[in-house]
């Protein structure tokens, strides 16, 4: 990863974080579907990024969000979990022949079906951890499942939309 890529990733993560905090903080469709678009910043980091720096990035990002959400620790725990699960999940669903080293697991590089099967379980796991932490000891497990399911659908849809609209499409691939 060269310096230019690094800066563009940094800007993207910062931008997504700011959008999340300023515009999407109080958004919840029908009171259950939340959106965690900033996760896209963790999801599309290149495959070659090692687990240790990934964990640290996710931890810092989750903490940044927590401070604004007034939910100290909850986003942090969930994002760290997502980062750890990402490296395992990437290995599990690796295409035949493995990843090219510089490849990023984004929609434009890998296609819609692969991206969905990559992002949905991860975002769902994230939402589960977050809502379990949020509703600890208050309401039933069904509410947690409900919220996580619809939140992950909403987040994935928005993640796909953002990538279709704003990401440069590489020539020659799909």
């Amino acid at each position: 990863m060269n310096i230019r890529n690094l800066i563009s990733y940094l800007l993207l993560i910062l931008f997504l974080g700011v959008v999340q905090v300023l515009f999407l903080k109080n958004l919840a469709l029908f009171g259950i579907a939340f959106v965690f678009i900033y996760l896209l910043g963790i999801l599309i980091l290149p495959v070659s990024v090692k687990t240790v720096p990934l964990l640290l990035i996710a931890f810092a990002l989750g903490f940044f969000l927590d401070v604004f959400y007034e939910t100290i620790g909850m986003h942090t725990a969930a994002a760290t979990f997502l980062a750890f699960a990402r490296s395992i999940w990437l290995r599990a669903i690796s295409p035949t022949g493995g990843y090219v080293d510089t490849e990023e697991p984004s929609l434009n590089e890998m296609g819609l079906v692969w991206f969905l099967s990559y992002s949905f379980p991860l975002v769902f796991a994230y939402s589960m951890v977050f809502f379990v932490a949020d509703q600890w000891g208050t309401s039933g497990f069904l509410g947690v499942l409900n919220k996580s399911f619809f939140s992950s659908i909403f987040t994935c849809l928005l993640a796909i939309l953002v990538q279709l609209l704003f990401f440069k499409r590489r020539r020659g691939i799909r």
């Binding site: 905090v21 300023l22 903080k25 109080n26 919840a28 009171g31 939340f34 090692k50 687990t51 240790v52 964990l55 640290l56 931890f59 989750g62 903490f63 927590d66 401070v67 604004f68 959400y69 007034e70 939910t71 100290i72 620790g73 909850m74 942090t76 725990a77 760290t80 979990f81 980062a83 750890f84 490296s87 932490a133 949020d134 509703q135 208050t138 309401s139 509410g143």
Partner: protein
């Protein structure tokens, strides 16, 4: 020894993961325990100023509505003031301290709010510099809003009534039966009134107000209206009452803060007589 080190090095990612998770869980726990000191929250200067800018933009669009509400409230207060004004008379005497003002009111503006989680917090644009202290009650003309949790110099963070950790001592206005209002984490417009014995005759539509027992809120501030009555399944001694909250939490922006000036005296008396008072 080398083997162990090699093994530990190989699972370093997992160890880091466990360490970070434990750290995060520790943060959750220490933030939610009432005594835990919260260093990082939105009462921080930097974050507070960002939230304030955001609120400035958003609340600009509801200024007309807010002004109208304030004017109508002013008119109401003026009316009451006219009734209270004493006509000049020949006799005057000093009232004793029992009638001294025990509550002090201050104004504030909500700059951060959430209502979709089960622990919701508010951020206010006033802090210790303006005389805000932890434990002050927050309400607006519609009803009870919450309670101040922690304070920095310019900002403060408060429990919303929509926080499952906050209990507000309250009573049914018509029958003076008291209980505690607590949110159940479900709908942002409903809460539950707990600890009302089964023999109490409650009717749907009864008003629920603050009781004044917990020394945070003065007596008689509106909380809501009873919307559903059913026997409690878990504990047959109590009724399960659902209260429709009078405050619209999605629109809270200008609020009043109330401080009981005799709170410390009351609290030390309670401690001295070893009574634990939940607030």
């Amino acid at each position: 020894m080398l083997r162990i080190l090699q093994f530990l090095y190989r699972i370093r990612a997992f160890i880091l993961f466990v360490f970070l998770e434990v750290l995060a869980i520790w943060m959750i726990v220490s933030n939610n325990s009432p005594q835990g000191a919260a260093f990082f929250n939105s009462s921080n200067v930097l974050i507070g100023s960002v939230l304030k800018k955001q609120a400035d933009v958003i609340q600009f669009f509801s200024l007309a509505e807010a002004n109208e509400a304030l004017t109508s409230e002013n008119a109401e207060i003026l009316q009451q003031l006219r009734l209270l004004q004493i006509k000049p008379d020949s006799i005057s005497f000093v009232l004793d301290s029992a009638l001294a003002a025990t509550y002090q009111f201050k104004g504030g503006r909500v700059i951060g709010n959430s209502l979709r989680f089960s622990q919701n917090y508010l951020t206010l644009n006033k802090g210790s510099k303006h005389g805000i202290k932890p434990g002050m009650g927050i309400f607006n003309p519609e009803g009870v809003v919450g309670r101040v949790k922690s304070v920095s110099e310019n900002y403060s963070v408060a429990f919303s009534l929509l926080n499952t950790g906050l209990l507000v001592s309250s009573k049914i206005k018509s029958s003076d039966v008291f209980g505690s209002v607590q949110w159940d984490g479900k709908s942002a417009s409903e809460a539950r009134l707990l600890f009302v014995p089964r023999h109490v005759k409650a009717v749907e539509g009864d008003t629920v107000v603050t009781s004044g027992f917990n020394a945070v809120f003065p007596e008689g501030i509106l909380i809501g209206v009873i919307s559903k009555i059913s026997p409690d399944e878990k504990n047959p001694n109590y009724l399960s009452l659902t209260v429709k909250l009078s405050t619209d939490f999605s629109k809270v922006n200008y609020v009043y803060l109330v401080e009981n000036t005799l709170f410390t005296e009351l609290d030390s008396l309670h401690r001295q007589s070893e009574i634990s008072n939940e607030y």
